[in-house]
């Protein structure tokens, strides 16, 4: 099968790969490029574990063809901390006990980041709505919701 070239930035770094047509972005990121922070929980768009940010929008990488990402700017959870300093969302998830097995965590953080990028001071309902595409089987969600609200508050304090 002829390979197709695809080129995009991942967490700010240039990436180029040859892929088979039909390869999902999830597969390309994990198995070709080696960023295993997006997780495959269902490969059918129902769990949110594979969530990434493409050009500022939250996307399910298991339902996104890698070949459609040419020229895109892709962000994953592995790219959030800067110089060893955790992103406020990462800090808040850690402090709020919002991870147990951790499998949903990278996807949750992506969904939360897109929310806070668009809505820096969300209501609890807005947080719940923003996370509604991400399944967590361990925490019961409450610590995750609290973590996102805490991160939003710490962001606004930093801004003030």
């Amino acid at each position: 099968m002829a390979k197709i070239p695809v080129q995009f930035t991942l967490n700010g770094a240039e990436k180029a790969e040859f892929i088979d047509s039909g390869t999902t972005l999830l597969h390309a990121l994990r198995d070709k490029i080696g960023d295993t922070s997006p997780k495959g929980g269902c490969h059918q768009g129902t769990c949110g574990a594979c969530s990434v940010i493409i050009d500022g929008e939250l996307r399910l990488s298991c339902l996104t063809l890698a070949e459609t990402c040419n020229g895109a700017a892709i962000t994953t959870t592995s790219g959030l901390s800067q110089g060893g300093v955790l992103h406020p969302l990462q800090r808040a998830f850690l402090d709020a006990f919002a991870t147990q097995c951790g499998f949903c965590t990278p996807g949750m953080i992506m969904a939360a980041k897109v929310l806070l990028d668009h809505t820096p001071d969300p209501s609890r309902d807005e947080v719940v709505e923003a996370l509604s595409g991400n399944i967590c089987r361990c925490t019961g969600y409450e610590p995750i919701i609290q973590a996102v609200l805490t991160a939003a508050r710490s962001n606004s304090q930093n801004a003030a």
Binding site: R30, G41, C47, T77, T99, C104
Partner: protein, 455 residues
């Protein structure tokens, strides 16, 4: 959270200063940065993908299997059937002498539940493996199936599993686990109230976010490294060793963070066949359940049926309890004989009852084999018992919490299975619960203790 050191002050001298204090988990930094390695976060050059051909029937004889067309499918490297598995019939708990071996790694002559693994296909890509499974031709003769536990126990019911020869697990105590304590019929005869109720539950799927799976890499020296998300590392290693007839020192199992298990990853299902695939092809093998397989194929919590008959006095004392419990193992034992046995010990509940009769059955049906899940064998029983306690309290006309104080076990009480109660603390927990829930009970109950009788 507050630690009440006044309780059991003579028992705990240690400081216990960690309780009620938030402490960061050691694995959280890895989780929030995406650095935690799960078993699937590995990729080996030349890795093959394994997909299963599964039974579309609940119960059927296999007349023939034809893999010739699948073999020709582009990308297919190896196809495995029962005859390729060195020790194909196994049972997980054989390691603790709970037999007989009753389950096939790959079906041999018969399938006993819908979804049972029949043929394993190894191919260069997941897609090729999946496509080839559709080209395997299995000729089935459909057999009558049984799905209801009481139907399965009736004479003349289709026999689900020939390795047992009957549709229940034969304990050394007979057709069920039994607890006999006092004289339950005399207890009912003398009771002011008798209440018999039946409680039933459906199978429950753990639905972990990460599906069950493993990746096996041959090491070149005839050893195999198996990266797995099993929750039962040594059960899996030892059973793999039996199934593959391969000494354990040739198997290197690497576990790590499990992406949610809840008991659902204690069965030995993916590893032996993936190791066999790696051995026979000389290539790394990935066998990871699809989400559909996780929901339909992995063992759920057993369906249970619990019949509870209680005799109680007007003053609130339960004087007799008779329980018949049924655990639906599905087609194979896995951990269910143990679960049903746990139920037998557990059913009187945390209550002191002078006359107890318990029978718990582990029943085989043509349903998905059930297995471990958070407190299996006792969780559904507790649901049934506590609903029964509320109903009894209502029947007698008593506050449900006070009713439990009257019957709560205390240190020194003999339990029905002849273990004296120690360190019960149930009275103290209920006293705290009464305060925390603002559900007041009479002062005499707040003055009770798990230590002293007669208060």
């Amino acid at each position: 959270m507050e630690l009440r050191k006044s309780y059991f002050a003579d028992q705990r001298k240690d400081d216990l200063h960690e309780i009620g204090q938030p402490r960061p988990r050691s694995d959280s930094p890895g989780h929030v940065t995406g650095k935690t390695a799960y078993f699937a976060d590995r990729n080996f050059p030349g890795m093959l993908h394994l997909k299963m051909v599964r039974s579309p029937y609940h119960h059927a004889r296999i007349r023939s299997i034809d893999t010739s067309e699948a073999q020709m499918h582009p990308g297919v490297v190896k196809i495995l059937t029962a005859k390729d598995v060195p020790h194909n019939v196994y049972t997980i708990l054989i390691l603790i002498q709970i037999g007989p071996e009753d389950e096939t790694v790959l079906a041999d002559g018969k399938v006993r539940w819908k979804g049972e693994a029949v043929v394993a296909v190894l191919a260069e890509t997941e897609r090729a493996a999946q496509e080839a499974t559709a080209k395997v031709k299995v000729d089935y003769e459909v057999l009558p199936a049984v799905f209801d536990m009481e139907e399965a126990l009736k004479p003349g019911a289709p026999v689900v599993n020939e390795y047992h020869g009957r549709n229940y697990y034969l304990y050394d105590s007979g057709e069920c686990r039994k607890v006999r304590f006092g004289d339950v019929e005399a207890g009912f005869a003398g009771a002011d109230h008798v209440l018999e109720q039946t409680y039933q539950s459906s199978p429950i799927e753990h639905a972990p976010t990460e599906t069950t799976g493993c990746i096996v890499a041959p090491e070149g020296n005839d050893r195999f490294t198996c990266y797995t998300n099993t929750q039962a590392m040594f059960f899996t290693l030892d059973n793999a060793s039996i199934i593959l007839q391969m000494p354990g020192n040739r198997l290197h199992f690497v576990g790590g963070t499990v992406g949610g298990g809840f008991g659902g990853k204690v069965d030995v299902i993916v590893e032996p066949i993936a190791i066999l695939g790696a051995k026979l092809t000389g290539r790394p093998v990935s066998f990871i359940y699809s989400r559909e397989e996780e929901m339909q194929i992995s063992s759920p919590r057993a369906a249970e049926k619990v019949v509870i008959k209680d005799g109680a006095m007007k003053d609130g004392r339960i004087v007799a309890r008779k329980v018949t419990g049924y655990t639906d193992a599905g087609a194979y034992s896995r951990h269910s004989p143990y679960g049903a046995q746990k139920g037998a010990g557990h059913y009187p509940g945390p209550y002191t009852i002078p006359n107890v009769w318990i029978d718990t059955y582990c029943v085989y049906t043509n349903r998905t084999p059930s297995s471990a899940m958070r407190g299996f064998g006792v969780t559904i029983g507790d649901f049934a018992l506590e609903v029964q306690m509320d109903k009894l309290a209502r029947l007698i006309g008593m506050d449900p919490l006070e009713f439990r104080f009257i019957n709560a076990y205390r240190d020194g009480d003999m339990k029905a299975h002849r273990q004296p109660t120690e360190g019960a603390a149930l009275i103290e927990c209920m006293q705290e619960a009464s305060r925390a829930a603002n559900w007041p009970v009479a002062e005499k109950f707040m003055a009770m203790s798990s230590y002293a009788k007669g208060a």
